[in-house]
């Protein structure tokens, strides 16, 4: 069976810094993979290279067996890649429903409609409300994002990615900066995602990562230093040394 995502010796160099250093990685269809590692390990940079935000310096990226290394980001989204950002990246000047509408029409031709108001698409509105309900924000649908708390914005961040209907979803520290109770909320939402969605999640919190993932990849200084089941990784002495040493 072809992997959902296959990365082959991918590298990204910033000046003299090898932020990602020949990383190879395969994520199976339907798998839930956690990507952990200390700050500055290169996790976000690796995500950027996979999703097309950045061009890798070398190496290749395959999605469902097709080489997409040089495909622009928006086309990867059409092929079923979705992502969230570590630094919340939502449309603060728009309402929540408008945020979701942008995600919903972004992968089809409706995004080019210029001669009919958005309100002429009741299906979009319906989907937007359903999407907001899934992250517990339905009653805020017509509020501007400005009025949301940071925790609520993280929920919206997730909803935006989910509403492009991804087959492979990349989550960059979805719980970054949240209180323990807010973390739990997001964590539950991610858990409740359908199993068909292949999930790759960067997570700082070892417990969260281990509680959700089928397999774990540990990065350090741009390289993969360990990979395996949560148990294997947890008992790896090298990982314990590098990773837990930082906490």
């Amino acid at each position: 069976m072809t992997a959902a995502v296959a990365i082959d010796s991918l590298a990204k160099v910033f000046g003299g810094l090898r932020a990602v250093d020949r990383v190879s990685l395969e994520v199976a269809l339907g798998e839930r993979r956690a990507l952990i590692g200390p700050n500055g390990a290169g996790k976000t940079t690796l995500f950027h290279c996979i999703t097309g935000r950045m061009q890798p310096s070398s190496g290749s990226v395959k999605l469902f067996g097709d080489d997409i290394t040089y495909l622009p980001e928006h086309q990867r989204t059409k092929l079923g890649m979705g992502r969230t950002f570590q630094i919340t990246n939502v449309f603060t000047d728009l309402s929540l429903a408008e945020n979701l509408a942008l995600a919903i029409v972004g992968t089809d031709r409706r995004k080019w409609v210029w001669n009919r108001p958005l309100s002429a698409f009741p299906a979009v509105r319906e989907q937007a409300l359903a999407g907001l309900e899934a992250v517990g924000l339905k009653d805020r649908a017509d509020d501007p994002v400005k009025l949301l708390s940071y925790g609520e914005r993280r929920q919206l961040e997730l909803a935006l990615a989910l509403n492009t209907h991804p087959k492979v979803l990349f989550l960059d520290e979805p719980c970054a900066g949240l209180s323990p109770s807010e973390r739990q909320r997001i964590f539950k939402m991610i858990r409740a995602l359908p199993r068909e969605i292949t999930l790759v999640m960067i997570e700082h919190d070892m417990d969260v990562a281990l509680g959700l993932a089928d397999r774990v990849t540990v990065m350090n200084r741009g390289r993969v230093m360990a990979e395996g089941t949560p148990d294997e990784v947890q008992s790896n002495p090298e990982v314990r040394d590098v990773y837990f040493g930082h906490v």
Binding site: R53, R83, N89, E98, L102, G106, K111, W114, N115, L118
Partner: protein
């Protein structure tokens, strides 16, 4: 519900007042108000990019001038009728926008600088290519527009003609900015990186917006040349591009009435102040600075703040 009817009532009052204006206003005022509509339309074209897409284009005068010159040259020099000259002007201005639209490959200050440079190309061309454009003197004696033997010669008739075009444009513009495409522009203004990750080829959306903006500016140019009856290089100048942007910002960027209100304030003040104060441009500058400091959402934003009942109207983009 209540909020929405407020907007509709205000729009109807404004239209009724505009329709009745020729009954009470003398020719001086009629000229001024017609000019406000035309510059307001040009400011609206700026604001599609500035207030929605977040692009600050400083070459809008180019589309305006190319449309105006094309129409004028075809009418005066080659004797083509309005039915040919006016659409040709529109097409010429819009084609220039199709060409200049490649500027949307750049962002931020580079976009601003490139549009300034592109603007100077047209200004230089109309100024220097005297054998074709009339140079400094421009093209004079543009006849009043006439279609099928019916000439819109009187000031009042042309006023109503411009008013009709502007109202139609405002309605079309309203649909455009409330459409999924219009929303996509505000999405790009908010976060281009997020839009790309949601599946948008953002540069194409900005390019389309740029061309539509050029079309609106060209329309203003054609209206202008028949109003003014002559055209000279000032119409293509950097100063015009800057002034219409200031109109949009002072009136209220991101709204439809804002650019027209801004045009009214600028042209009204200029007419009034320049009658007794030589440095009237300084007054314009002061108005702009005051806006930026105390009313960043422009005059429309001020009115919104003072209006009884809270919240922005929903139909206000």
């Amino acid at each position: 519900m209540k909020v929405r009817s407020y907007g509709v009532v205000m729009a109807l009052i404004a239209i009724a007042a505009a329709l009745a204006a020729p009954l009470v206003a003398d020719p001086f005022w009629m000229t001024l108000i017609t000019q406000i509509y035309i510059y307001g339309l040009l400011a609206l074209s700026v604001d599609l990019l500035l207030g929605h897409a977040g692009l600050y284009s400083l070459c809008q005068a180019s589309f305006f001038a190319v449309a105006a010159y094309t129409t004028a040259i075809l009418q005066v020099r080659y004797g083509y009728p309005t039915i040919v000259a006016a659409p040709a002007g529109l097409i010429a201005g819009t084609l220039l926008a199709v060409l200049y639209g490649s500027a949307v490959r750049t962002r931020g200050v580079y976009f601003i600088l490139i549009t300034i440079a592109l603007g100077y190309i047209i200004w230089g061309a109309v100024y220097r290519w005297a054998s074709f454009t009339g140079g400094d003197n421009g093209i004079t004696n543009v006849p009043p527009p006439s279609v099928a033997g019916f000439s819109i010669a009187s000031q009042t008739a042309y006023y109503y003609f411009v008013l009709t075009v502007v109202i139609l444009c405002a309605f079309g513009y309203r649909i455009l900015i409330r459409s999924p495409f219009g929303l996509s522009l505000r999405g790009i203004k908010g976060s281009e990186s997020r839009m790309q990750s949601l599946g948008y080829r953002t540069t194409m959306h900005l390019y389309a917006a740029f061309v539509i903006s050029g079309l609106i500016a060209s329309l203003a140019g054609v209206l202008y040349v028949y109003y003014n009856r002559f055209i000279n290089p000032v119409a293509a100048s950097f100063q015009i591009s800057v002034e219409v942007s200031l109109m949009a910002i002072v009136g209220g960027s991101g709204t439809i009435v804002g650019p027209f209100i801004g045009a009214g304030v600028f042209l009204g003040l200029r007419n009034w102040v320049s009658s007794f104060f030589e440095l009237h441009t300084a007054v314009m500058g002061a108005v702009f600075i005051a806006t930026v400091l105390w009313a960043p959402s422009g005059i429309v934003g001020l009115v919104e703040r003072w209006r009884p009942g809270i919240g922005k109207p929903k139909d206000q983009p």
